[in-house]
Symmetry: C2
Subunit: 112 residues, 2 copies
């Protein structure tokens, strides 16, 4: 009401930083992209174009999935989406505030 920051509490930034740091430190994690509640990348290890491309694709799939799921069972809720390919695994985890996208190496020894 008085301040713009009330709409987007300061905790959000700390929350993003915390999630980013935690996920990034995990073994085999190659890239991390944190999306805000509008689906835009707000923090990422990738360059901006790549982050936007990946985020756009996964947000589109998530949207399609959630629309489809709501027809099958409106009470159900998406917790995690994992896409395993020959070269990597992309994991999307929605959260109340943010969405975390993680790119993992497909093989433990891929870049080691």
């Amino acid at each position: 009401m008085f301040l713009d920051t009330q709409k987007r509490p300061p905790r959000t930034l700390r929350y993003v930083e915390k999630a980013f740091k935690e996920v990034k430190s995990r073994k085999n994690v190659r890239d991390v992209v944190i999306l805000n509640d509008r689906g835009n990348p707000v923090k990422s290890t990738m360059d901006q174009d790549d982050a936007v491309q990946l985020a756009g694709l996964f947000q589109a799939i998530r949207g399609r999935l959630e629309r489809g799921m709501s027809k099958i069972d409106p009470t159900d809720e998406l917790l995690m989406l994992r896409v395993r390919t020959k070269t990597n695994e992309v994991i999307l985890v929605p959260d109340s505030k943010i969405t975390v996208l993680v790119v993992q190496n497909a093989h433990d020894n891929f870049e080691k």
Copy 2:
């Protein structure tokens, strides 16, 4: 050329039966839907309407994903798609001949 069955070799049916049986026997597997190369359910534990609805949704997501992936890395290939929700986990595994959709219980003790 001489027989219609040459287009769709008899092995396909045995392959479907084998995959169906193998996947169905696994722990926590609730439902199995086998799709042919056109994305239509050919064998399923679900009733036909539910199988078609689930197959339609997951084929749509897969299509969107593969189109998006080909822009990011044309040499990459989808091996597995997993969707974890509050109540279950749906796994899509493409194969050269068929696509296997598996619905697993989210909780080990969900129906036990």
